[in-house]
Symmetry: D2
Subunit: 375 residues, 4 copies
């Protein structure tokens, strides 16, 4: 496969750094262009990020000398794809401008998530939502040939919907979900949470987070209308989601407890639920795709995890500290699957918020879009 | 009020240290006798506890020189009351032995909690359960005149049942509770949790804890049979409780998210729920008590908090770090009271696990038992 | 003693909050006026500080309704004293303006510390440096009658110089000090240190901190020239101080290891050093003061600790978690006093950076200035 | 190179787990045999270690099914080498027994470190000390042909002596070292430090640690007598080392501040010191070795780091969180090299206590011993 030139917007932030680590060693995406704020434009990446590099590996040598540009499309004309780690206060307009110049934008920002023509894509859950893209492109005047925006979901939502998707695809509609998150500090970006607020503490509130989890779940787990021009947001069988979101003193890894009630009566047994988790394969490709029959997508979707769900059987797992790096953070961990005395089943979910909860999702999304022919 | 001589069993442990701080400055309990393991017997308290004293205040000077005894009743013959901070592996038999010598035992250990003649007493919730004590005494041969055992509840259960009690007493039976706890390390005693297991981590499992929360809630919120000889364990209208218990890197203060469904339809509004929390007064005394009319119990139940429930209105409160010491940890904090998209109402609860969740409960229980004439 | 009206500048910050706790219950300072940034001016204190109050006790009820003013002298005309918790980027000019209107300013900011006419006052060490104040006032045109500025020292310096002062006053000049600090996050203000930077980490660098410790020590431990118009900055016998400053994940309490070499040969024994620490009494008052003979200064300098140095004898103390609140953080803890294989003696020092390292020092300084007749 | 069969003693502990990760993918050591306590003997490794595996990668599949044996030589007869991660309370005798059966023992335990015929080997510093081994073997009756014991040093000592060795080999004798450590919790093993003792805290004392650093440095940096039968422990030019050891809430990575005084006058400049660190190559092989001329030892000493010392130039580095995994923890990080106002030069050192400070050192030691012909 020949290489595809890609860029990163917001390259010096935490999400941008994750993009750089993923893309600097990518088998067919070739990282060529980096965008940052005007203050950093003109600087070499290693210079601009000097005191902001928060990764435990060094800045990749291939990236250190790349000069930073302002986040304007004219500097990215050689790129077919840009990955956006921009902050929400600027992401909306910049991403639209890139789309308008026929660049495919894979964004981690929240700005376009509620746009009815933009897929809210969790790669392990709803890759088929990419089919809305022709409609999205047709809304422009003149219609876009190549430009589009795909967003990934909130980091907590992402972890939750993977096991929910496994359950829904096996057992049909889910009626109710009560979820309590314990979220890592890296989810708030850098500098993000003050150490004074979180050391030896739990903060039982994250602004806007509960609303995101409750709403995004519907769009992600829902379908697409028959004409392919709108998301149904699960409106025919709404899932009631009640989220309580908390910040805990953990670097990375959002862990959550979830209780689920199925529409199906009687509900599936714990063994059936475990089997559904274990056998879950995300719909990366349509059945019509020549590679669909193969269960090995590692050549065409190389950043995807070997299995979407990692099931833990020891009772005190998953734990953020020990399990956040499984499959380089690209899979979701599930443990303690057991009956719930109020709803049907309850379990623990762990998702790596800086990997599958952020940059890793965007990169897999781009790989899928390429495999499905949208790029 | 003349002073009453009291002792502490397990005086060198974390709970024992809390007892010592509470009792060394108590208005009418006079701490005279301390019990510890045979290895410490004979040592002065300050010597025995030297490297185990984990409080941020010094060992009270009145206690430093007290010689430690083995936990045998003959050494405590001057005491009317003993408070037990013993570990569960020895507490059962020792507490029974003290009861048999007609000493009133207020225990923090779990051993006798499920005994159908022993009150599982959360002082802010079910002080009236003390009325089982004559029955408990009658079961001995010959019947005991003064000896009895009263236990307090698990630290997480204690925090949860206070707001539940406020709701039940105002709105009638509760049908369902889903609760997720984030529990402090001090709840596991000393040395308890290894730093390797909890720094930068959440452990989504605490052995036996979920079962305790799910079962104890029924005994505590339930009533007493007409003949006064048994607890009904809420059997006529069982509350379904589903608990998910987690350990977090916090020193002190168990915080939890709770969703509640009422039996009452339509359910109370959020404002009504807030009002119920705000106006909740624990039934410390029976209506027949001469002090019942007074709302100021500070003379006869001095360790009780001014108000049982402290309501927080800022959205990111309560927090363990900032709120665990309100009312010296004797009250329970509630915040974020709002509608639940699945059950009726949800909120955050914070209880100080080493105060109201442990020693403070036992001390208030003893004060109530004295006020009600059982001592 | 009649009350003295005082104000606080920078009242909503962390240092300002400490001032408010200290002053709202002060026996003779009466807190009347609060200053903050223009954005907060006009708001009630409780409203302005709502999400910034980081104390484990509630906002004092007497302060909640006080309206905030801009930090301009005209709003503080009723105050004889203002305490400044202003940030360094604005403190310099504002404090000068208050001094110019004949208000005594006790500042926690670094701006005026190097001014040769401003005392750098650690109340447990060099209260006699207040004698420079008439000279400071004479430098103004026309000379000031009442206005002056007194600064306290950097929080790390403050902890270090207390035991050094005890040694110098007993054994004569100190030649060399090598000190390594492990400093709490609250020393950086709020929001200050990002949790991402410090959780599970040590940062071996604090900008400007080592220079401050190395320089301030000389001014504080030095004397005053014969004409009373300048500090000698220990120039006749400079102490060589080499500091290595680190940030650690601790809320409050700067702990440090110090090695000291005396000028005196042979050096004092460990027992003599311990005795010097134990017997050290700060020179709060001049010998000519009527209260000098009394060792009980609690009436006239009520915020001063009972003893300046708290000596720990258990080998693993002092610890920030357990010892930072001794004497409400107004004293300095010293432990592990032992021989140093390279210099003469080494020991561990702990100082509460938000108490004696900040607001508490300013308040004691004001009490001393009052007792000495400068106010 | 053909493979060499090796075993691990104490395989279920933290150090044992590190050995297993290093050896399960080693190019020529083949891990065949695992020893543990009698309680675990007979269990498969994955079963025995189930709740004690504290690594962020899974148990290597090649090791999961290996049955555990008691730590008796008869079970390890197929091994030429055993690596010991035993606790000090049992390590001494067991290691001696293995040596007596002609197995080469590379130990992480402290028991034999002070034995005058046992090399205290930091692989990045004193590999030439292996030349004492024939003498060690000759002390047995009858003399051993293959059995010997090599220990590695204390984890803090190990980090310190690497830069000291670079300085000594370039500039000659070092006179004085004052070092303050901030040590990670994993240095105390599992369960080791209670979370109650270290969360939000620094403990300024680690039993025996300062003595180890002060003594081991002399043996490691010293030479060997002319007859090859004793270590000189630097007795002709003793280095005075004064250590202050602290425990901090960090998982992994001992960081320390060090001040050094050279014998050489005038002392080297900072630039010369930096150059010495940068150019330092450990004496892995004697000059007579055929591979000596090559600077690429990666084939014969594959676990050694590319460079022994990693120099950091940004002022706030190295940091445990960000830098502990550089070179898989096999190198030592040095930063903030600058003049010391009391001694000559000061700097910050970071060593990964579970890698180069423990198992990694033992494995490199074995690789060197093999290359040098002792195995």
């Amino acid at each position: 496969m020949s290489s595809i030139s890609v860029g990163v917007l917001g390259a010096t932030g935490l999400v941008g750094q994750s993009f750089i680590l993923l893309l600097s060693s990518h088998p067919f995406f070739r990282l060529t262009t980096l965008g940052a704020s005007p203050a950093s434009a003109g600087l070499a990446y290693s210079k601009a990020v000097e005191n902001k590099w928060k990764q435990s590996t060094c800045i990749p040598s291939s990236v250190q000398a790349i000069k930073l540009h302002e986040c304007k499309p004219e500097h990215f004309s050689s790129c077919q794809i840009v990955f956006s780690g921009l902050d929400a206060d600027v992401a909306g307009d910049i991403e639209s401008a890139f789309r308008a110049t026929n660049i495919a934008v894979f964004s981690n920002a929240k700005n376009h998530r509620r746009d009815p023509s933009v897929p809210l894509l969790v790669p392990l859950v709803n890759p088929h939502h990419l089919s809305i893209l022709p409609h999205q492109q047709s809304l422009h005047t003149p219609p876009l040939q190549k430009g589009f925006i795909v967003t990934n979901a909130n980091c907590s939502t992402t972890a939750l919907v993977v096991p929910l998707s496994a359950l829904q695809s096996r057992f049909g509609p889910i009626d109710q979900v009560i979820v309590t998150t314990m979220q890592a500090i890296s989810g708030a970006g850098y500098p993000g949470v003050s150490a004074i607020d979180i050391l030896d503490n739990v903060v039982p509130y994250i602004s806007g987070e509960e609303e995101k989890m409750e709403w995004e779940t519907l769009k992600i787990l829902g379908g697409i209308s028959a004409d392919g021009k709108s998301f149904d947001n699960h409106s025919s069988h709404p899932i009631k989601v009640s989220a309580s979101c908390n910040r805990v003193p953990v670097h990375t890894g959002h862990i959550m407890t979830a209780s689920v009630k199925f529409s199906k009566r009687p509900p599936p047994s714990i063994d059936e639920v475990l089997k559904a988790f274990d056998e879950y394969v995300p719909p990366y490709l349509p059945q019509s795709h020549p590679s669909f029959a193969s269960s090995d997508f590692s050549k065409i979707i190389p950043t995807a995890p070997p299995k979407a769900i990692h099931i833990h059987t020891t009772p005190n797992r998953p734990q953020p500290l020990l399990d956040r790096h499984l499959d380089k953070g690209a899979s979701v961990s599930v443990g303690r699957v057991r009956e719930c005395g109020v709803l049907d089943v309850k379990f623990v979910v762990l998702g790596n918020n800086v990997a599958i909860g952020a940059a890793t999702s965007s990169v897999i999304n781009a790989e899928i879009a390429l495999a499905r022919g949208y790029i």
